[in-house]
Amino acid sequence: MINNNYKKKKKKLIFVLYTLIILLFLSSLFILGIGIAKINFFKIIKILLSNLPFLNKLIILKNIKYTDIIIIKDIRLPRILLGILIGAGLSISGASMQGILKNPLIDPYIIGVSSGATFGATIAIVLGISSTFLGFGGISLFSFLGGLSISFLIYYLISFQKKISNTTIILVGISINLFLSSIVSLLMVLNRNNIENIILWIMGSISSANYIKLIFVAPIIIIGYLGLYFNSSNINAISVNEDIAISVGINIKKQIYIILFFSSIITSICVATSGIIGFVGLIIPHIVRIIFGHDNRIVIPFSGVIGAIFIIYCDLLARTILTPSEIPIGIITSIIGAPFFIFLIYKNKKEVF
């Protein structure tokens, strides 16, 4: 009876995960066709298949307009892929951050990564660095480095403590966030002609997606995901109780650094390529916990998939609501996320599962 229960539960979860992945895949195909240029579902499949080796010889693209092929292949597909990566990355890093800091109301930006990245980007914009490095814009590069260096600064600041306390990490993170946002505001005041660029950058967008960006983003997010996933049972222990974690054989200081490291590389690359997309890293893990329980070995992969689905639909709204102009995706996620989050806080008091 016992082994059946456990096997059944495991099978059920794997089934649900595959279903969600299929849903993500179908959603992507559906979203590819929507926009100013409406493209038929079968045409999309044909275009996609024509890019695969071997199959491409069997597919005839004669009756499909050249512009449609370009729109799918070079504009919408990289954008959706980037959206999937960013959505998954932010949710995974949010889930682990909440676990490690034992606070379900935390988002991945808390340890200063977002403000560091914004600071980096602002400097790049102010200095007019727009040259590209291997297709990776100067602004993105600066903001990635900014995000990373701020998170390293935070590790350094907390390393003086004998015993790392999660409250200290949160407080140091918040202070640095506030400090850097003031500097960013100062830079904006001093460079009024660039204010619009900076603000638009902060609001976040994945419209600038291209394959070269994907080549940078994908490996970092995949490495980060693996790093967090393999440590997810340790995140469980730490989020229950630090003393418990030590007593089950976890070197807690080392573990916290490992989790912070993987979370911050993910967050930095997300912010660097798409600005600050709020609320994803906060609410997605919440939803996953309400539905699937609090075990991080489940929360992390499920957050990834659900976060990806969430982002691609938000991006669909971002680019279709006010056509032909675009709304920054960060606005959409926040408009949907904030009320939902307040609802969650109230509901949290009598949360089930």
Partner: protein, 256 residues
């Protein structure tokens, strides 16, 4: 027989405050050890030093005749398990998730739980009569059930030594007896139980050996019936007691 825990000249400081002073201990051939003492006498700190949650400031702690600093955290977790005093978490872990944490030191690199891990955990949940709680949230349990679950987690670690910090302090009489019975049974199966207790009656009834702490120092150690007399209790807790000796009749089994 090897001594399981031995401590030499242990001193422990929190910042500049000295919490433990010159502790020397050698625990050998004893299975149920209670640490008693007034609040702030260093009971919890002593347990935390043995588990390496607090690192030793001065002195040495040996487990099975090896310095604890020579063990990795993981190897140490295979020798001793610990149940802290209070555990509050904002996350609703299920009972199963909590007890499975005890298997952590045995997991391989990918941290995947094997079928046998689940088997061990289910067996232990049966043993502490909590199998019906398996899928419940830990935050929805009563104090007694919660305590049993964390003891189950410690048991899932399958260690020769169990350290418990006031496992029964916040519980009603029935649950106090139930949990101490579980611990007593374990001690009969050759596990070494080291627990902080506040109730001197319970300490007297259950323990084989008592360590009395007084302001960070070991005041006295020895057998409970010899140690717990008016004089010692007066100087350790600063209160006059009237000791009435009676036969201890177990409330559940009616055995003497």
């Amino acid at each position: 027989m090897k001594s399981c825990v031995s401590i030499y000249n242990l001193n422990f400081y929190y910042g500049k405050n000295q919490i433990l002073k010159d502790i020397n201990l050698n625990i050998k051939n004893k299975n149920f050890i209670s640490i008693i003492g007034a609040n702030g006498s260093g009971k919890t700190t002593l347990l935390k030093v043995i588990t390496r949650i607090n690192s030793v400031t001065k002195g040495k702690v040996f487990l099975f005749e090896n310095d604890i600093n020579n063990y990795s955290y993981r190897d140490l977790a295979k020798l001793l398990s610990y149940v802290p005093q209070t555990i509050n978490t904002d996350f609703d872990f299920s009972v199963l998730d909590i007890v499975l944490l005890g298997r952590n030191p045995y997991l391989n690199f990918s941290k995947s739980l094997k079928y046998t891990d689940y088997e061990v955990v289910y067996d232990i949940l049966k043993q502490v009569e909590c199998i019906h709680l398996t899928n419940k949230s830990i935050n929805k349990l009563s104090g007694g059930e919660r305590q049993k679950i964390f003891i189950a987690k410690a048991l899932a670690q399958d260690t020769p030594i169990l350290l418990l910090d006031e496992p029964v302090s916040s519980l009603d009489l029935y649950n106090q007896i139930e949990i101490l019975d579980i611990l007593k049974q374990l001690s009969k199966k050759n596990k070494i139980i080291i627990t902080v207790l506040h109730d001197l009656n319970l300490a007297l009834m259950y323990s084989d050996y008592i360590i009395m702490l007084k302001s960070g120092k070991i005041f006295k150690t020895g057998n409970p019936d010899i140690l717990l007399n008016n004089k010692n209790i007066k100087s350790c807790f600063n209160i006059d007691v009237n000791i009435i000796q009676d036969k201890f009749i177990h409330p559940k089994t009616n055995h003497v």
